[in-house]
């Protein structure tokens, strides 16, 4: 169970690169967002939150997609490592869904005049958030850890398949009510804004990778510790 020296070394090296890349990438992202891109004429400074907003929801969906795939693999051939990876991506997904919701609210207050509205996207993102919070809680509710991982995998699969259906139902449901969104004509966005959006998505993905690797690593250390304790006692 103990890490071999070599493996530990390679792991550290990759983590260092990811960490530094994230740091530099984030600084550049701030420059792009606040200095390089022009100020949006109608919305003003608050529009800047959109770059973070879009990159966050991208990470959330990426995380939940990986949870879905790894959950299938887990049920096919269970292993503690697959479970750790799935859980780490789910945690990252939940964190970025939270950032999406919060940044959305910050944007909505001056634009729509309210922090929260039961708009289709907001509502389905909220339900997405709830599903994966329950996913993370589930293991703690089940006594046998192996069973807990299996149950989490089941919810990781059902939850992800459910997401588009939830989204569809909420969208149809909202069409029956007055729609508060004044859609910004996305086609008219200047190229610099698009580049910045794409760049932010890439940097956030690197950040997510970094976070997931750290999370998995911490889990492994914890399990090694538990093993050492039980074998020494």
């Amino acid at each position: 169970m103990a890490l071999s020296k070599n493996e530990g070394g390679a792991r550290r090296w990759i983590d260092d690169v990811l960490g530094v890349a994230t740091l530099i990438g984030m600084v550049v992202a701030l420059w792009l967002i606040f200095i390089y891109t022009p100020m949006e004429l109608v919305q003003g400074a608050v529009q800047k939150v959109f770059y973070i907003h879009l990159a966050s929801i991208w990470n959330a969906y990426l995380g939940f997609l990986i949870v879905f795939v790894v959950s299938i693999l887990y049920l096919w051939r269970p292993s503690a490592r697959k479970d750790r990876i799935a859980r780490a991506w789910a945690e990252v997904g939940v964190v970025f869904t939270t950032i999406t919701l919060v940044s959305g609210s910050i944007w909505a207050k001056p634009i729509w005049g309210t922090y929260w509205t039961w708009d289709a996207r907001l509502t389905s993102t909220l339900i997405l958030w709830i599903i994966y919070v329950v996913y993370l809680m589930l293991r703690g509710f089940v006594g046998d850890p192996e069973r807990g991982r299996r149950y989490a995998a089941i919810v990781g699969i059902i939850g992800f398949i459910d997401v588009p259906i939830v989204h569809m139902s909420v969208r149809w449901w909202r069409t029956l009510h007055p729609d508060p969104i004044v859609a910004t004509s996305e086609a008219a966005l200047p190229a610099s804004m698009w580049y910045t959006v794409l760049y932010c998505i890439v940097v956030f993905t690197v950040l997510a990778l970094f976070l997931v690797r750290q999370r998995v690593h911490i889990d492994e250390l914890r399990e090694t510790l538990v093993d050492l304790r039980t074998t020494s006692s």
Partner: protein, 222 residues
């Protein structure tokens, strides 16, 4: 195939026979359903056109919560008395076991609804006893029962028992709840166009029936 059919039939019959003798499940669900209809009416002080607007939602909240109560009990009952292990010892395909439990749950839910719907029509004075509402109820109940059967098997094996079921079932069945409420609403007010809610319900049922059939083995085995 013939054996599987015989096994499914045996389990459904057994569940009905046990319920006929114990009666606790249906009594619990029915009392709860009727009680919540009354409480909703009192708490929301419903009258006039408001009833038409919120009625379908109240009906589906009542059905959903009563269903959760009942479905949670069916597996806990098998689990606590150890008979679940007796079922798992039998050479029965786990998908077939899922179908058996789903059918038993559906029968109980339909009995509950056979009382709740007329009761609702009477108390809220809404014409819910029409074929369109029945179709929506049938499809919505099927969706609730599919994921309910799946998740209550998991909840029975967990520490939180009945508390875990709503946490898993409510967020994932949002499409069922929205779809069934809207379909019921449209049927009552005679709206013909609008989104294809019945189609949504059917899609949900087909997708999750397939998925649960395949995944049930992992939910139920030790």
């Amino acid at each position: 195939m013939k054996l599987t059919l015989q096994q499914v039939l045996a389990i459904v019959q057994k569940d009905l026979m046990v319920e006929m003798r114990a009666r606790d499940l249906l009594v619990l669900m029915l009392t709860f359903a009727v009680l919540s209809l009354v409480i909703f009416y009192l708490a929301l002080d419903l009258w006039g056109p408001v009833v038409q607007r919120v009625g379908p939602g109240l009906l589906w909240m009542t059905i959903t919560f009563a269903a959760m109560l009942g479905m949670g009990r069916t597996f806990v009952r098998e689990y606590e008395r150890g008979t679940l292990a007796g079922l798992l010892l039998a050479p029965i395909d786990r998908g077939a076991l899922f179908i058996s439990k789903l059918l038993a749950n559906l029968i109980f839910l339909f009995i509950m609804e056979a009382v709740t719907l007329p009761m609702f029509a009477l108390l809220f004075d809404l014409p819910v006893l029409n074929p369109a509402v029945m179709l929506a109820t049938l499809l919505g109940t099927l969706g609730l029962a599919i994921l309910g059967t799946m998740f209550s098997a998991m909840a029975a094996h967990s520490r939180a028992r009945e508390a875990l079921l709503p946490l898993l079932l409510l967020p994932t069945t949002v499409p069922i709840i929205i779809g069934a409420v809207q379909a019921t609403s449209n049927a009552i007010s005679g709206v013909a166009d609008g989104p294809p809610w019945i189609g949504l319900l059917i899609a949900f049922d087909v997708i999750f029936l397939t998925l649960s059939y395949l995944l049930f083995e992992h939910a139920i085995e030790g």
